[in-house]
């Protein structure tokens, strides 16, 4: 269970203050598939970073299973990220001079309950690329590797910032299918930030943002399957 209450992120802007997030409240039950939509600069990444514990709010509380992330020390945040979270970014951020398998080992190494890197690669359909370096893979393949890297340690929540932002339609589709499968089979909570309104059809819940505020939160009664999404 994730509960945000009165969360703000403020940047100084000359004399006044700029609210990248403006007193936000939000509750997400475990296992939900959430899509956050909004124009550039609306505060989507800021929100994700706060939830992910790589940035800290200026007001409010962020409770993860009743523990306030906003009050954690650096060390506790590290442990929180280590044991609870998986990240996927727009630019996949694989380490260029480690092989595909080693890139997954980087996170597998962190947790004793982590899965086997090769099994994960099999799952994302890239077992034959295990000993390649990232630059030898296509963008979609790279993104699938970074998803494998994020879920190898079996996180309870997967945070994805524009996971398909740099991909063409076909690659995007395989990435979305993978995320859907993770959500359904592993019961992992998935938060996806995107520009792409079409993806909203897959979500349990859709959050629309503008200027650091939620303009609309809708609950989908019927979810589309990933392969039904089109744009």
């Amino acid at each position: 269970m994730l509960e945000l209450t009165d969360v703000s992120r403020i940047y100084p802007s000359g004399e006044s203050q700029f609210y990248a997030l403006n007193h936000i409240d939000l509750t997400i039950p475990d296992g939900e598939f959430v899509v956050i939509l909004g124009p550039s600069g609306s505060g989507k990444s800021t929100l994700l970073n706060l939830i992910g514990g790589i940035d800290q709010p200026d007001t409010g509380t962020i409770l993860v299973n009743k523990v306030d992330v906003a009050k954690m020390s650096d060390r506790m945040l590290t442990r929180y990220r280590r044991h609870n979270l998986g990240f996927v970014f727009q630019f996949n951020n694989l380490i260029p001079d480690l092989t595909v398998r080693e890139n997954i080992e980087v996170t597998a190494h962190l947790s004793s309950s982590a899965g086997k890197p090769l099994q994960l690669l099999d799952r994302v359909g890239l077992i034959d690329k295990a000993d390649k370096f990232p630059h030898q893979l296509s963008g979609g393949e790279q993104q699938r590797v970074s998803i494998a890297r994020a879920i190898v340690k079996r996180p309870s929540m997967l945070l994805c910032d524009e996971p398909t932002g740099a991909l063409d339609f076909k690659s995007s589709l395989s990435v979305l299918q993978l995320l859907e499968e993770i959500n359904q089979q592993d019961k992992t909570t998935v938060l996806i930030v995107t520009h792409n309104a079409a993806i909203a059809a897959m979500a349990d819940r859709v959050i629309r943002m503008r200027s650091g505020e939620f303009t609309e939160i809708t609950q989908n009664s019927v979810k589309a399957r990933a392969d039904e999404v089109e744009w």
Binding site: S45, N49, G52, I54, D55, D74, R75, T78, R79, Y80, R81, R82, H83, L85, F87, F89, Q90, F91, N93, L94, I95, P96, D97, L98, T99, R101, E102, E105, V106, T107, A108, H109, L110, D131, F133, H135, D161
Partner: protein
């Protein structure tokens, strides 16, 4: 150009790194300027003193007073002047060697104050005056007479005023030299208490210009002239001693120090500048790599290669100019105290310190030139590429793959594998670290090497060999021994090959007071009647001879050439001596059967001073050595301090580059939940191995370097010093450097904390 505004911003952003670079440039430029200034000034005042003070070419001691010195001078085309010296016991343990003032040979050169005007005036050597807290205008009392100190002086044949010729170091606490008028010296001689004071009279010979016989070209010529002259003295006046300038240890000690400094003035700055070049190149290349796209854009917009080059040279040149100028100024600043120290130590005149414009200019220009060229090379590597290549950004060649196949990384554990990859990527930096640490370890261990070598050489080395308390040398050969002790024979000789001055000494069997031991510490025996012939280590090294070889020499007494087969080498590092059995000595050189010239003794004897040529006191020597080593320890401590500072700066630059280059990876690891400590282990500990290798490498480098340096500076004097470094001190040196290393690693580790995780998400990986 607006671009110029970036330079102060860049400087500020990486200020630690740039300050470190400036510091290293400063250090290089400072040592360059300082050492060169010290060397040229020392050499200059040495030459000046020799010239102005009319240094003797030869000094002789005779049994009978030569009759007419003036006519002798005319015949020789030389100035000949007699000089009386009195060893006065000024205080209980303090000897003042008072010379009669000379005017045509070995004239005292006034360093401060006034020349002698009255018979109650006295000139002192400045180191003695300083140590005894005697100022110009003070008085001192000698044999009941009061002398006014009218000034300080330097004597050209006593530049390094040691008490005895066998002394290695001066000790102004117990010995000094002074000069008084001719009349005053006569009074001192007549007032001298016969027991304690010794009187000595010698003749200085200085050839007229054109007859300067010390140049290489006239070597043979001078040999024959000298030989004639020596014969003349021998036949007419009874020659006791003959000392040529090139064999005068009180001069050679200084020449040797200058030679050592000269070698140092070349190698030390070169090494520092080399490190500078490597580090600047890495820092600059890192900057340029980041800006490939910018350079491409600038070029595409029509800026010429020269303009781009000029922009990127501004920063390194600024560093070089700041470091160079401040280093030169610093060098000039510290050169003066150094010079003052040296000139006091050696009793050399410190005239106005010469600020050779060439040295000052090169102190700044050399770093600017070296670093400018390095920077040009680095920048051109990028600028010469076509704009469209540059616009794509810097692409690293995947060298990892090749090494991958070589080492089979994938069999390693994850952390090992990660570090192995990192090491392959950072090979250049690791190499730089190893070299830097090797250099720092050389500097660090220099102090320990010197103090270990000196203490083994002087502590055990000397007192194990020289067991006597007193060494009495008689003026004439003795036949009946009235005193307790070991009698020995001795004469001066010159080797046929190369003409080295050596001593031939006849020792009794199994001498207890002068112990000859071989390399393994075994006592070497000189059996009476045997053909044993032992040479010292100094002589063996200098002439490159050993057991089985034949040493040939001309002796001073009968001028005959002698050949003796060497049977062993004694580990003595301070004398060039050939030891043979005493009876064999007397037989070979036709001396009466039981005659001897000197006596080693463990007790003090009251021998009339007119019978003695000199008395040597072992205790004096050992205490003066002690004070000398203590003095040295302080200066070596400061070298050690500089070494760790250098190590710190070098490592800091490398660490900060490493963290900078891997900023993205580090941010990513942080996001994934790695703790700072774990990241530090993964990223920064790749320097552990190069650190260790560098330190270990530094040890043989150190021995090689100082071996060569010693060979060069000891050429002039009859001495070698075996280099020795104790395990204890290697460990201490390692510990100090290791602490420096860990400290730097942890300081750099803090940078990891500062890396912003959100930054990394906004852009594409490098």
């Amino acid at each position: 150009m607006v671009l110029r505004k970036r330079i102060p911003r860049q400087l500020l952003k990486h200020k630690g790194r740039f300050i470190s670079l400036i510091f290293l440039i400063f250090l290089g430029s400072m040592t360059l300027t300082m050492l060169n200034m010290v060397v040229t000034n020392l050499q200059g005042s040495f030459d000046w003193l020799t010239e102005v003070g009319k240094a003797d070419d030869i000094r002789v001691w005779t049994l009978n007073e030569p009759s007419n010195l003036e006519s002798l001078g005319k015949i020789l085309n030389a100035d000949v002047e007699a000089r009386t010296a009195v060893d006065a016991k000024w205080q209980d343990d303090i000897t003042l060697r008072v010379f009669e003032v000379n005017y045509s040979v070995d004239q005292p050169v006034i360093l401060d104050g006034n020349a002698l005007q009255r018979d109650s005036d006295i000139l002192l050597d400045p180191a003695f005056a300083a140590m005894q807290k005697l100022a110009i205008g003070d008085t001192i009392e000698l044999a009941g007479r009061t002398f006014w100190i009218s000034g300080y002086m330097a004597l050209p044949d006593y530049i390094y005023p040691t008490h005895f010729e066998t002394d290695l170091v001066t000790d102004p606490a117990s010995f000094g030299v002074a000069v008084v008028t001719k009349r005053a010296i006569m009074q001192l001689v007549s007032d001298a208490p016969a027991e304690d004071w010794t009187v000595d009279r010698s003749y200085g010979i200085r050839f007229h210009p054109g007859f300067a016989l010390n140049q290489e070209t006239t070597e043979n010529q001078s040999q024959t002239i000298y030989q004639d002259l020596k014969d003349r003295f021998k036949d007419r006046y009874g020659l006791v001693r003959w000392l040529e300038r090139k064999d005068n240890i009180r001069i050679n000690m200084v020449k040797s120090e200058i030679a050592g400094q000269k070698a140092m003035s070349k190698s030390l700055p070169v090494a520092i500048f080399m490190i500078n070049i490597v580090l600047l190149a890495s820092v600059l290349w890192r900057m340029i790599r980041m800006e490939f796209q910018l350079i491409g854009t600038l070029r595409a917009q029509g800026l010429s290669k020269m303009e781009v080059l000029r922009h990127y040279l501004t920063l390194p040149l600024t560093l070089a100019v700041i470091g160079g100028i401040s280093g030169t100024l610093g060098g000039i600043g510290v050169a003066r105290p150094f010079l003052v120290y040296y000139t006091q130590f050696f009793a050399l005149p410190l005239k106005q310190a010469q600020y050779d414009p060439l040295i000052i200019l090169s102190g700044t220009l050399i770093p600017v030139l070296l670093l400018g060229l390095t920077a040009t090379y680095v920048v051109m590597r990028a600028v010469k590429l076509p704009p469209k290549t540059l616009m794509r950004g810097f692409r690293r060649k995947p060298k990892a793959m090749f090494i991958e196949r070589l080492f089979r990384f994938h069999n390693l554990k994850f952390a090992m594998k990660f570090r192995a990859r990192q090491m392959v990527r950072s090979a250049g930096k690791l190499f730089g670290a190893a070299i830097g640490v090797a250099f720092a370890s050389m500097m660090m261990l220099t102090g320990f090497l010197m103090s270990d070598s000196y203490s083994s050489f002087m502590g055990d080395g000397l007192s194990d060999i020289f067991q006597y308390e007193k060494n009495y040398v008689f003026k004439t050969e003795q036949s009946i021994n009235r005193y307790d002790g070991e009698q020995y024979q001795m004469l001066a000789a010159r080797t046929l090959d190369k003409g080295y001055a050596i001593l031939i000494e006849g020792l009794p069997e199994n001498s207890q007071l002068l112990k000859l031991t071989d390399k393994s510490g075994q006592t070497i025996d000189l059996k009476p009647g045997s053909k044993a012939c032992i040479i010292t280590r100094v002589l063996a090294d200098k002439m490159k001879i050993g057991p089985g070889d034949v040493i040939s020499f001309i002796n001073d007494i009968d001028d005959e050439i002698h050949y003796i087969r060497i049977s062993g080498v004694a580990e003595i590092y301070t004398l060039s001596t050939v030891f043979i059995p005493l009876d064999e000595f007397n037989r070979r050189f036709d001396r009466p059967k039981d005659s001897f010239i000197g006596l080693y003794s463990i007790q003090t004897h009251h021998i009339p001073s007119e019978d003695l040529l000199l008395t040597e006191d072992m205790n004096d020597l050992l205490t003066s050595l002690d004070s000398y080593t203590n003095l040295m320890r302080i200066s070596l401590l400061s070298i050690g301090f500089f070494a760790s500072l250098m190590a710190l700066v070098i490592l800091y630059i490398l660490f900060s580059l490493l963290i900078d280059e891997n900023g993205k990876t580090i941010a990513l690891l942080k996001i994934l939940g790695y703790e700072t400590r774990e990241i530090r282990t993964l990223m920064l500990r790749i320097f552990d191995a190069p650190f260790l290798i560098g330190f270990i490498l530094g040890i043989p480098m150190l021995f090689n370097f100082y071996g060569a340096l010693m060979a060069q500076s000891f050429q002039e004097i009859n001495m070698t010093m075996p280099l020795y470094l104790s395990t204890k001190n290697i460990v201490s040196g390692f510990a100090i450097l290791y602490i420096t290393y860990v400290l730097t690693r942890n300081i750099s580790g803090r940078k990891i904390l500062k890396i912003d995780m959100t930054d990394v998400l906004k852009s594409i990986g490098e």
